[in-house]
Amino acid sequence: MNKVKIQNSEFRILLKGGRVIDPQNHRDEVLDILIEDGRITGIETKIDNAQAEVIDLKGKYVFPGLVDMHVHLREPGREDEETIASGSRAAAAGGFTAIACMPNTQPVIDSQGLVQFIKSRQIPECRVYPVGAITKGLLGEELAEIGDMHQSGAVAISDDGKPVTNSNLMRRALDYCRMFDIPVISHCEDKFLSADGAMNEGALATKLGLRGIPNAAEATMAARDVMLADLTGGRVHIAHVSCAETVDIVRRAKRAGVKVTAETCPQYFILSQEAVIGYDSMMRVNPPLRSKADLMTIIDALKDGTIDCIATDHAPHSSEEKEVEFDQAPCGMLGLETSLGLCWTHLVEKNILTASQLVEKMAVNPARILKIENAIELKAPANLTIFDPQAEWVVDPAKFRSKSRNSPFKGYKLKGRAVMTLVNGRKIDL
């Protein structure tokens, strides 16, 4: 377990009367939680403590702190789009208490120095866990110093944004990571198949005159990577699953006992390819928005546990680069500040997932995969998300704490939002 430093904790906080939803410990009940010196010291039906700052959580839910295991923070390199600080504030606003940031910065996070740089820029609002590169410079040629990065705090490795095209190198990465028991997060994309595609392949792409990316571009590499995980005994985590074929591959691999986990993102179960009609470049993302049938399959995979996590693939882009011709626009969407509200509105309110299942996808499973300390238990640092299930709000990118504005969900009416988080015992008001 990564030990988390307790910083600037309040002396004593008593969370009173919140409904604690903690699937890891099979809790779903109204409980009081006492936090002293940043650590949880009491979880009881009724706690009274005269010295504590009492926070009334009647009608609110208490989740283990949400973890987004797939975020792009753009620092170092594109601080105009996002910084570690602005991304952390955006994460907090979205209810996250921990995020894992991808290494495709400039320079690439491919050495312990860069990992330490990321850690050094953390702010109290959110824990930031760097993901190191699989290959030096994300070039797909030689392994980066994975062991050294891991010792400095990298919780996983990934060449996200690019696939590891060389199958033998991917095999070695999975094999090598067994020593550290960290996952290799795979951006599955056969670049030859995705070619210069701008959207999902099919009749709609034909109609819109945009080059298509077939599901097979993702699924063929997912199939390769679960086979390599099987071969090596390493842990592979399939990033941003977008289509039915990949779901099928992951489902079968899990049944066969392969160490595979998978994530999807809100855009892949809320938006379908039809969102591209009108050529709004906000809808350009990689992998692309898929068909409605794919979308339904992703929902099924969330329900049956084939997909373990909901991440965001938060990808900030400056408006001058994003607001251009569709096929010229960079891929990616913001996600941190909308994910929880979207998931609650589109999954829990629609009875697709229970609140407890959502907490598994957004907190318990990502924390387990990345081995981030996050449990609601005695002596653990308090990392909690306080959620108001009744809050109704409208997505307004102008109010985002992110430095960027590229949300495809502008104007969405959502129900449910985080009202407070506790990060290492420190209360973050939102």
């Binding site: 034909t206 819109l208 945009l210 001058e320």
Partner: protein, 317 residues
């Protein structure tokens, strides 16, 4: 009926009435082109910017000529001379031009949807002169004008489009327009160049030209981009030509009164045999003449000229 659209982006968004209105208006202008003085002053004082971000001879000249024959002022911008070379975004370029008080932008762009992007962000009308693989509405309209002129109408007519349909905006605009007008449309080409799901637009697909050719009333031959073989879509131009070139032997299987079209520029000997291109069934040069008339009609209608067209033209006669 009055024209009430700001832009012409694709034929999908036009009604049959709107397409007929353009074709009827073009017919009046077609007559102007036969006069010794080929000008009517109905767009005097209007400014039209031609922005061609992709090389074009025929379409850009045709639009420029159409504007000049209506006596509009034109400004022509090409990638080499524009600030796009200096990294200016499309939006900034257009906003700057708009600040100079222009009325219409005619745009050719390699990105599908680029004119839609522009149209939703500027007040001036936008005419799509070809966007990526998506649409080329004035080409579709001039093809329809030519078909109507030669064949009298569209109902029950069999139109066959031959060649690289995947990369063709001309094919898409023809399909959209002709189907709406009541024609039957088929496409024929190598399976690697027939786009996925094209049947869902309502067209029939053939992979054998000899089979497809016999019931066609109109054959529209598409240009084959010569770099397709490098992308692995074709083994060789030779093989393409063996299977899909419209040559004299294949013409022998066609109906006697078949109409042969090509949007240009032609690769003679690749997709069409010179004898066929220049033969008696070919209307390829009529398409070019009609293109000017159709574009005059589009410019006129989008400029919102209120006076009845016939009046305006007669005055000048």
């Amino acid at each position: 009926m009055k024209w009430n659209k700001k832009d012409l982006l694709d034929l999908e968004s036009l009604s049959v009435d709107e397409m007929n209105m353009i074709l009827d208006t073009a017919k009046s202008f077609r007559e102007v082109l036969n006069r010794p003085i080929k000008k009517v002053p109905i767009l005097r004082g209007k400014t039209i910017v031609n922005m061609f971000f992709e090389p074009s001879t025929r379409t850009s000249a045709s639009f420029d000529m159409a504007a000049k024959r209506l006596m509009a002022d034109t400004v022509n911008i090409s990638p080499k001379t524009s600030a796009v070379q200096k990294g200016e975004t499309l939006l900034d370029t257009a906003r700057n031009l708009e600040a100079m008080k222009i009325d219409l932008v005619v745009m050719r762009h390699s990105s599908s949807g680029a004119p839609h992007f522009l149209a939703s962000r500027i007040k001036a009308g936008v005419i799509n002169a070809g966007d990526g693989q998506h649409a080329h509405p004035t080409q579709g309209l001039l093809d329809m004008f030519t078909i109507k002129e030669k064949r009298g109408g569209f109902e029950g007519l069999n139109v066959l489009i031959v060649g690289d349909v995947t990369h063709s905006r001309v094919a898409r605009s023809n399909i959209n327009g002709l189907l709406k007008m009541g024609a039957q449309v088929s496409v024929c080409g190598p399976s690697t160049l027939i786009p996925i799901g094209i049947e869902q637009l309502g067209v029939k697909v053939y992979y054998n030209l000899d089979e497809a050719i016999s019931q066609a009333d109109v054959i529209n031959v598409l240009r084959l981009q010569l770099e397709r073989q490098k992308k692995g879509l074709l083994p060789s131009l030779r093989e393409y030509s063996l299977h899909f070139c419209l040559d004299k032997d294949r013409m022998a299987r066609a109906k006697g009164d078949v109409t042969i079209m090509h949007p240009g520029p032609m690769n003679r000997g690749v997709e069409i045999d010179p004898d066929v291109a220049d033969g008696e069934r070919s209307v390829i040069l009529d398409q070019v003449t009609n293109g000017v008339a159709v574009r005059m009609a589009v410019l006129y209608l989008l400029s919102g000229g209120d006076a009845p067209l016939a009046e305006a033209i007669k005055k000048e006669a």
